[in-house]
Symmetry: C2
Subunit: 394 residues, 2 copies
C-alpha cells in the first residue's frame, strides 16, 4: 500500500500556495468509479462542468478544460493565438512571470519583458503606465499580446488586471490581453469577460481546491479570431476541435474523468459558499497572516499594501537566515509545509499559503508552527504573530 504518512500523528498542514488542501468531499468525488467518457452520463457531466467553470471565470464565453497542469494551459493559450516570431509584451512580477516568458521563448515567440527601472519588480505589482508607454511607442502594432500574471504565486502580489486593460485601451492598441490567474481564480475576484481579458489561464490546484491535473483557458471572441490566424503548431492543445466536441459535453481526446468529478464537487462547494464570500474569506485570512508577520517584526516580500495577495504571504528572512532552514524545521517538527522561495529569492524568503479550503484555525495552526520554527532557527521575534492574527480574526 502507498505510504504517505511519514509523520506520526495528526493531520498534515499543507500551507504552500498550491496545491492547496483538497476537501474530503472533493477527494471522495475523484475516487468514484471511472465511467465511459463517450457515454450519455459523461456528456451530461461535461455540460455541467463547462457551465460551472464559466461561472467561476465570470464569463459566458467558452472555457476549455485541458487534462494538464497550469503550464500546459499557458502553452494552450499561446499556441492557439500567436504565430512564430510574434512579439509579446510580458511583465516581470516574479518567478512565474519569468517561467512563462521562458515558455514563450521556447515556443518561438519573441518576448519583451517590462521591468521597473528600480529593478525591484519582485516586490511590487504591475505598473500599468509602463505597459501603456510601451504600447504607445509601438505605432505599427508589432506587439501581438500583453501577457501578465494576476496573482504572482512566487511573491504574494496581486496586480490590477482592469488597470492593464485600461492601459491597452488608452494606448488604442489591438494587442490581446492574456492573463495567468492560476493562483488567483476562485480566491480573488476575477472577471474574465467584464475586464475584457482575451485569454484567462488557470489550473485546478489552487482556489478550486482540487489536486493538480486540470488546466483552463477562458477565451474571448477576439482570441477566437486570433486563433484562426495563428500559425504556431498545435494539435493536443488545439481549441477548435475541443470547442466542437464540447458542444455536446464531450472532448475529442480522453478527458481526465476522475479529476473532473472533483471539479464538479469543488465548484458546487464554492457556489454554495458564494464566490464573494470566498473572496472575503481569503482577504480576511490574508490580513490575519500579515498581522502575524508584522508582530514577528519580519518584512513582507510585497512592498505595496494596495496589492497584497489574499492567497499567500511572502515572508522575508533577516540577513544570514536561510528560509529553507525554517521550512525544514516546520516540516520535520510540526508537520507543516510552507512554500519555498523560488528563483532568485530562494533562501531569502518563504511563503505561507492561505488559499482554497482554509479557515481560521487552520491558518492559526500554520502560523503557530511557523512561529515555533522561526524561533527554533534562532530568529529573534518582536512578538507573537499568532496573538496578532487572533486579534484580526476574533
Amino acid at each position: 500500500m502507498l505510504k504517505l504518512d511519514s509523520h506520526a500523528s495528526g493531520q498534515h498542514f499543507l500551507h504552500i500556495p498550491g496545491p492547496s488542501p483538497v476537501p474530503p468531499r472533493v477527494l471522495r468525488a475523484i475516487s468514484y468509479q471511472t465511467i465511459d467518457h463517450r457515454g450519455p452520463e459523461f456528456g451530461q457531466l461535461g455540460l455541467k462542468l463547462i457551465s460551472g467553470i464559466q461561472k467561476i471565470f465570470k464569463t459566458t464565453q467558452p472555457v476549455i478544460i485541458f487534462p494538464s497542469s497550469g503550464t500546459g494551459a499557458w502553452e494552450g493559450a499561446m499556441v492557439n493565438t500567436l504565430s512564430s516570431g510574434d512579439l509579446v509584451l510580458m511583465y516581470e512580477t516574479g518567478h512565474f512571470a519569468t517561467l512563462w516568458k521562458k515558455l514563450a521563448d521556447r515556443l518561438g515567440i519573441k518576448t519583451e519583458f517590462i521591468s521597473r527601472p528600480s529593478g525591484d519588480n519582485w516586490r511590487y505589482g504591475i505598473d500599468p503606465h509602463l505597459i501603456e508607454e510601451r504600447l504607445l511607442k509601438d505605432t505599427n502594432h508589432q506587439i501581438k499580446a500583453v501577457c501578465v500574471v494576476h496573482n504572482e504565486t512566487s511573491t504574494g502580489v496581486t496586480s490590477d488586471i482592469q488597470a492593464v486593460r485600461h492601459a491597452i485601451d488608452n494606448a488604442k492598441h489591438p494587442a490581446l490581453l492574456i492573463v495567468d490567474t492560476i493562483s488567483g481564480l476562485a480566491s480573488i475576484d476575477y472577471e474574465h469577460e467584464k475586464w475584457g481579458v482575451d485569454v484567462s489561464i488557470s489550473g485546478s490546484q489552487k482556489g478550486l481546491m482540487m489536486p493538480p491535473g486540470l488546466g483552463f483557458n477562458a477565451i474571448s471572441p477576439k482570441a477566437l479570431e486570433a486563433n484562426k490566424k495563428s500559425n504556431l503548431i498545435k494539435a493536443f492543445w488545439a481549441w477548435d476541435e475541443i470547442l466542437e466536441s464540447n458542444k455536446n459535453g464531450y472532448w475529442p481526446t480522453t478527458p481526465s474523468t476522475n479529476l473532473m468529478y472533483g471539479l464538479h464537487e469543488a465548484m458546487e462547494m464554492i457556489m454554495t459558499e458564494g464566490l464573494d464570500n470566498v473572496f472575503k474569506r481569503h482577504d480576511r485570512l490574508a490580513k490575519a497572516c500579515r498581522a502575524a508577520v508584522a508582530a514577528w517584526g519580519l518584512e513582507l516580500q510585497c512592498q505595496d499594501s494596495s496589492v497584497y495577495s489574499p492567497v499567500l504571504t511572502g515572508v522575508v528572512m533577516p540577513q544570514g537566515v536561510n528560509a529553507d532552514d525554517v521550512r525544514k524545521v516546520a516540516l520535520e517538527r510540526y508537520n507543516l509545509s510552507l512554500g519555498t522561495g523560488l528563483g532568485k529569492i530562494k533562501g531569502h524568503m518563504f511563503r505561507i499559503g492561505h488559499l482554497g479550503d482554509c479557515n481560521e484555525l487552520a491558518l492559526l495552526g500554520a502560523l503557530s508552527g511557523t512561529e515555533m520554527a522561526l524561533k527554533a532557527t534562532g530568529i529573534k521575534l518582536t512578538g507573537s504573530g499568532v496573538v496578532a492574527a487572533q486579534e484580526i480574526l476574533q
Copy 2:
C-alpha cells in the same frame, strides 16, 4: 453531491476498451490528501514511480510521465524527436492510427500512410514486409521515423512490434521506431528495450487500471540523440527539463499528484500478480470472449487469428443492424457499457473490453448482457456465447 448513479441497482459493467474499471485500492489511493509536490515525501514517491514504470515498460531507459492523456503523449513523442517537414512512415491499422496521423499532420510533419493493397487494413495487423519494402526504396533516408500502433483499440488487432523492428533492421534504415502501446501496455507483453523501440507511448486508463490523465514516453538513447536535433517547438512536453528534474524524483511543472498515487498502487498490484500472469489472464479472457462471438455466429473485426487482441474484441454486426442500437440496449437495460465503433466502422461493429482489472465473472456478466442485448435488437444468434465462454474458462 455529484450523481453518477443513474442506474437503480448493482455495479456498472464498464467493458469499453478503456478507460477500464479502476480497482477500489487505486481509487482510494487517488483520494489521499494532496501533498507538496516539491517536498521530500513527493521526491521519494517520484523516484519509486519512475523505477516502477520502467519495469512495466521492461526497460532501464528513461520513462517520462506527463500529466496528460495518451494524445498528449503522442504529441510529446513527436515534438521531441522530429523536425518540421520531416517525413514519417505510419501504418493504417485503424482509427487510432488515423488519429495519430492527423495529429502528426497538424504538427507540420509529413506523413505517409502504408495501407494494404487490398484496402482491408482495419481487419489485419501490420504487414512488416510493406514497411521493409518502403524503407528499402528510401535510399537517401528521407524517412525519419516509423510510427505504428501496437494494439489497435478501434479494431482489436495486436501487431508484432518485433517484426517491425526486424523490417527496419533488414532495410538497414536509420529511422526511429515510435510505437503507440496506449492500450497494449500492462495487458500484452511489451518490451521497450529488448525490442529496440525508440519511443514507446502509453496512457494510464487501460492496462494500468487507472483513470485517464497520465501519459508516458519511454525513450531510447537514439531517441534522446534525435531530441537534440529536433526543431519542432516544445515547451510543456520538452523531455530535457523533465529528465533533469526526474533525477531527484521531481517534475519541472506541477505533476498530477493524486493520479500518481493511483499509479503507485496500480503498479504494486500488477507486480504482485506478476506481469506474465497479467498477460496470461488477458489472453485467457480474450479467448473466452472470442468463443462467445463464434457461438453467437457473429464475425470478428479481426480477420487474422495470429493477431487477435488480448485487450478487446471487435464484433461485426449482421447486415442492417446498427451496432449502437445493441450498445444502447446493453446500457439502458443491463447497465453495461460496450465500446462504440470508431471512424469508418461506426455502427458496423462494437467492441468488448476485457482489459485491466477484469476477471472471469466480470467477463461472463458482460457477455450475458451483450447476448441479451443482441437478442433484444432482433439478431438471430446460433448459440449461447456465455456457455461457450464458460467452457474456455472452467
